[in-house]
Amino acid sequence: MIHKTSPEVGGMGHPIKRKEDLRFIQGKGNYVDDVHLPGMVYGQLVRSPYAHARLKSINTEQAKKLPGVLAVITGEDLAKANLAWMPTLSYDKQMVLATGKVLFQSQEVAFVVAEDRYTAADAAELVAVEYEELPVLVDPKKALDPDSPVLREDREQKNNHIFHWEVGDRNATEQVFQNAAVKASVQAFFQRCHPAPLETCGCVVDFNRATGKLTVYMTSQAPHAHRTVFALVGGIPEQNIRVISPDIGGGFGNKVPVYPGYVCAIVASLTLGVPVKWIETRSENLQSTGFARDYHMTAEIAADRDGKMQALRVKTLADHGAFNAAAQPTKFPAGLFSICTGSYDYPTAFCEVDGVYTNKAPGGIAYRCSFRVTEAAYLIERVVDVLALELKMDPAELRRKNFIPASKFPYKSSLGWTYDSGNYEAAMKLALDKIGYAQLRKEQQERRKKGELMGIGISSFTEIVGAGPAHTFDILGIKMFDSCEIRVHPTGKAIARMGTKSQGQGHETTYAQIVAQELGIPAADVSVEEGDTDTAPYGLGTYASRSTPTSGAATAVAARKIRDKAKKIAAYLLECSENDLEWEPGKFFVKGAPSKAKTIQEIAFAAYTNIPPGLEAGLEAVDYYDPPNLTFPFGTYVCVVDIDKGTGEVKVRRFVAVDDCGNIINPMIVEGQIHGGLTEGLGIAFMQQIDYDESGNVQGGSFQDYLLPTAVETPHWETDKTCTPSPHHPFGAKGVGESPNVGSPAAFVNAVVDALSHLGVKHIDMPIAPWKVWNILKEKGITS
């Protein structure tokens, strides 16, 4: 039970306004491109127009002659410093600047440095690169053909296969399928999409020759991890590297990897001894930085005739592009994709994933998703609907019948995860009641009689977030704990610093609320600082909905350490034994005599002015929190769509989202997160794809083709919640930022398929653009 603080204190559960918005709405944010340093120069990348070509020569003479140009760096130059390649987050390596050949369109080939941005851009056009075109592989299935050209000549393994990963019991699953009364299957392609944060990636690198200090202002979701990578790869002493992640305009996983542009800017600043700024254009961001998904998935369910699911089998081909630069914990080449049994109680399951190289941009990052969880949730929620069609059973009823019952938690899934807590039926019931499900089904029947197309889609997803326990999770060997350090000042105000980094999540507000909850210091009196590796404690950063489960937990634990010391000081001040004291947020008082009390502010002052004998001065604590398990947020989303028969346009009439993320820190921020994630999910379901033509030309490499939903396309979101606290988290929270992106694509697609299911439609791949629906309607004779 969470003790509710007063609105003035603003602890857990208060919808206090976001502190950071004061500067953002006044245009006073400080993003990387706002950083201007004396003598700063600009970098521009030269990129390959070819998806696969041998580099015959690079002539930089013309570019160097342009007035204002300071340097042109090529892969050969970097090779001399052993920097032509860099490690990825997946134990692969990636070219910083191409040597030998290029492997995807827009690959980095040279880096021009000039006195201003325009000169740098002009000079980049003057770098003459001679290419010899090579056969292009864009189809991951073809990439596995023995006859296909080997893309990665640098590897010992002479094919395009990256990894095979499997989990579960293959033979037992096979047996169940052989004897199954009913089988359902779906082949679903989760298209290549891109987080497209409104702020593209970039950095300002400032190497000070006098002090030897390298300061890197960069768009980083994981500043400490990046500092360590720079130290290890560049051989620079780590104490001489300071990474500063200022305000970040959206990350969504896109700002987790290290990109060639950062490395080139570092090399340029080290070489020239002046600050170097490099900022991507929109197209550079879309075409070369971490994409998401590109999973070709097959799922099959074996079930009884009455709809009880018996086994799940999943086979996936994962297109990772030219380099395996996926973001994931070391032991999980397909991330946490094995959460694909979802909210259902499968006695048996088997899942396998094969990764391949193609001539596409590298990545596979976790776009608002805890490492491939979106793919998994989409797949299971899609195939469950296909089974419902097969059984002619209501999809809600089928889900209810197969949910992991609330009484079974903690629940060990057949693919090995221990779900912390859940009550799936309650969330689904609330969502169905809220939308008026029974009435909608009746309406659908009536509309069908009139020839109108209306569909209802359900998605009862389960997430797995908050990586993670150090015994299982690390990235490049660094364990995935996270941290918080709190210092209480003499006047009772405080500063808290974390190893995570907000990119819009509202950390400055929510972490302050945790401190307020635990210490009773008003949230307004707590400043939160992240993103400066010289001041913040070490941590792995913000992605995979891990901030609240890890750093949020660390904040609570650090605050409790402070409270323990505060108790000693209070006992000294009140001249009583610690055992006689009781706590309520904001003060210690003597049991049975509430007027004999010391507030946290009085205690803080004493910590610097009237220190008890034998106790250290000051009031501060640090905690590195290693979570005992992941957390498993869940929810049910219900979507109602109407389809225009003439144009194929899908209109989302209603969308109800019921989320359960355990105990909530700030309900307003949670709701905002859900609105944002649902809007992204809408874009993915209906509008977005980074596609490639047969020559490897990017289709979807600018906002002309890669569409973002605006207020015009976005429907009204109706949100609600149930609350099933995490039993192992210090204050029962689970993490929420990614749920709406994970859970919503299936709800949208299920609704569209439901509208067309009576015509025999079982599946449509995203993005469901009007032309796709129109073609189906035409094929079915519904429209002419």
């Binding site: 030269v46 127009p49 070819y50 033509d693 030309n697």
Partner: protein, 185 residues
């Protein structure tokens, strides 16, 4: 991206006259909007440039045209053109086969099949309009072709290479948009 374009037009000139014109890439190049031949390498190979302006950026292709096959008896010709953008933004290649046929009225029918392949920024940005743009280029080409044929023979010597106007982006985009609209209605 790759595409195949088939075109067919008629000129009111005898087949031999048209054939003589068609076999000389220097003459044909003057009909291609934004193109010019800069150098003859050998009997069958020529160097040249083509400029296409899309928005603020000009793509200048520099490359070679080669006559792969010449069948005077059947009046058939096959050309292979390849060019790279001078600013490294991509490349284009064109395989074109042309055939002439005498019409009953004494005129000549020109039939061409072109396979065009574009790699780079033009193929990224212009994927949706590039077929229309190519159609317009071919229409302009056929108009120029007919106009040049009608000129008195003494003037049909290729002009000295001059600064050639690139194909205009704005008008092309507009024409392409109109083309798309026409298709739908």
């Amino acid at each position: 991206m790759a595409m195949k374009i088939e075109k067919n037009f008629q000129v009111q000139e005898p087949v031999e006259k048209v054939w003589a014109f068609l076999c000389d890439p220097r003459k044909v190049a003057t009909c291609v909007p934004g193109a010019q031949i800069t150098e003859q390498v050998d009997e069958k190979t020529y160097k040249g440039t083509v400029s296409v302006k899309v928005g603020p950026s000009v793509t200048d292709y520099r490359g070679e045209v080669e006559i792969v096959r010449l069948d005077a008896l059947n009046h058939e010709i096959e050309l292979l053109g390849k060019g790279q953008d001078v600013r490294g933004r991509g490349s284009a290649s064109l395989k074109m086969s042309g055939r002439l046929r005498t019409m009953p009225d004494g005129g000549t029918e020109v039939t061409s099949v072109s396979e065009l392949s574009v790699v780079g920024i033009l193929a990224q940005m212009g994927a949706r309009v590039i077929t229309e743009v190519s159609n317009i280029m071919f229409d302009q080409f056929s108009k120029n072709f007919q106009a040049r044929l009608r000129q008195p023979s003494e003037q049909s010597e290729p002009p000295a290479p001059t600064q050639v106007e690139p194909i205009k982006a704005s008008s092309l985009a507009w024409e392409a948009a109109k083309g798309l609209l026409r298709k739908k209605s």
